[in-house]
Symmetry: C2
Subunit: 351 residues, 2 copies
Amino acid sequence: MNAVTGPLESALAELLERFHAAEAVALGRAISLVENERPGFEDFLHEVLRVGPSAARIGFTGPPGAGKSSLLSVVATIWRTRNEQLGVVAVDPTSPYSGGALLGDRIRMSDLATDPGIFIRSMATRGSLGGLATTTKEVIDLMDAFGFDRVLVETVGVGQTQIEITAAADTVIVVLVPESGDAIQAMKAGLMEIADIFVVNKADRPGADRLVKDLRQGLHLRVGTVLESEPVYHGLDLDRIRRKESGEEFKGPGWSPPVLSTVAQSGEGVEHLMDMIEAHRSWLEESGELEERRRARGKVRIQDVVDRELRRTAWHSDALLAVLDQGLDRIQKGKDTPYSVAWDIVNRLLR
Amino acid sequence: MNAVTGPLESALAELLERFHAAEAVALGRAISLVENERPGFEDFLHEVLRVGPSAARIGFTGPPGAGKSSLLSVVATIWRTRNEQLGVVAVDPTSPYSGGALLGDRIRMSDLATDPGIFIRSMATRGSLGGLATTTKEVIDLMDAFGFDRVLVETVGVGQTQIEITAAADTVIVVLVPESGDAIQAMKAGLMEIADIFVVNKADRPGADRLVKDLRQGLHLRVGTVLESEPVYHGLDLDRIRRKESGEEFKGPGWSPPVLSTVAQSGEGVEHLMDMIEAHRSWLEESGELEERRRARGKVRIQDVVDRELRRTAWHSDALLAVLDQGLDRIQKGKDTPYSVAWDIVNRLLR
């Protein structure tokens, strides 16, 4: 196993030094190291994460075409005028076959791409069956540890990717447009539960006021209700059980998600959005919710890393692969089932 | 661990007996047992799967609104007139929050719902982060073992759910409509790789001929080309590596996916589709591809069950949960990172 057994291998130690010296090139290399799960990447993350998180992590999610990238670009540009250092992670759902990222939205960020105070990384979701890959969350951690004031995460909201952003961001902004459907659809998609701030973008289009009103009503209905079925994150079942036992809800009390209107193109409503982002940050810090969320994130990460490590141990062992192959032969001959073979392998693995 | 340590507990032994006697009620109960992962469900599956697969497993996938359910209903009705016994598993993508299945399409199957020769089960994808849940595949196995001539699986094609159907069905039918986009989108979505048969349904609408032609051209382009990036199934990485090493492609040679036109409403083209399903079955059996696919399926199942078992062992152990909690405290105090805690847990787990 790829454990912390001693000092980093010398090339990684040098990379770490340059990373700590805030060299952008070192951040890029560190991201590649992690993305490709090259030898020592977890040791590197361990070293980097010795200093806890400090960046404000802000997630932008919503359906394709809602203008997430435009909105992100506008707020990022304003933060840059205030000299804030920014990291951006844009997650693209891709065909598991083509492996390529859809670049459409990215191109619109090109004004920012030449600014040395902002570091943009586009990531494919390739290889991950839905949800945000552990790797993606690790890249967000790298950006945080690198020293950015804010790390902005953009995910195209497609099913669970949208939901999982809560496991990566402190503040989740759900961006909708009048065309993206009504409040009932938003409720069905679980957006009421994940949004810290709702933004109805392209608010100059017909139907915007109606959507704002319906979302507010939908949120109002939610207050005080206990969700019938709780979200299930991979590895978060324990949390769920505990919340159920204690009667807590997922979101801490005291924050009612505002529903804002923006027109990213003209900048209308953007300052208000930025004020609400700050207000949410203050609430997070004062209420203790930030610490809660970071702890929940730590738990998810531990479970993810354990699961990844267990899988790797199981399926990179020649001895176990031989057991697997022989098992498949015996299944074909009707002498075994996948279950008896699986049990054999588990018994060989565990203490 | 929940291993095969001896005879089934008596209630399950009785259920098994009634299952083998082909009582529909027993099938329903067995499905509930598996769906809810109640104690002994894997032992039950082990017993049931001692007899290998025999049903023809036929998957229908495609975008929402393509008419998959209608098409499935039409072919199922014809097979029923030939007195074939049919199992149907309909998989719905659902909000991870609401937990409920979208029933729209299901209702259209109501003509068949009263026929005792067909057993329909609608399943939510709840809890699974994309892809077909292991549970869903286990239910398909149950239907196969119950003795149906065919098991029909319908999945709404949303990202990887669509792809994963290849891990559950022998014959994958991709259903498109003129409105569902062009051949390039289909290629991007990886449909060229998974389809054994393409169906352009609602072929009386404008654009149908064009889509048929484009799909054929797209398929033609594919012949002889090696995919640049191979599909990654959870747990199938080994296969991928081996295929890459040996230069094999995923699909065996000798079958060119036909592109058919149907109008499910009027029945136009349906007989032709059924002929092609039979032709594909013959090819599967004669080429050895069926055995290959079943073996690949067995491998995925073993890996899924091992991973599930490892996770369960890790996160249901009070001792390890205590390690996790203490680790979170140490992380908060800056004395540990998620990685050092994870390594501690893995070292405690593994031999």
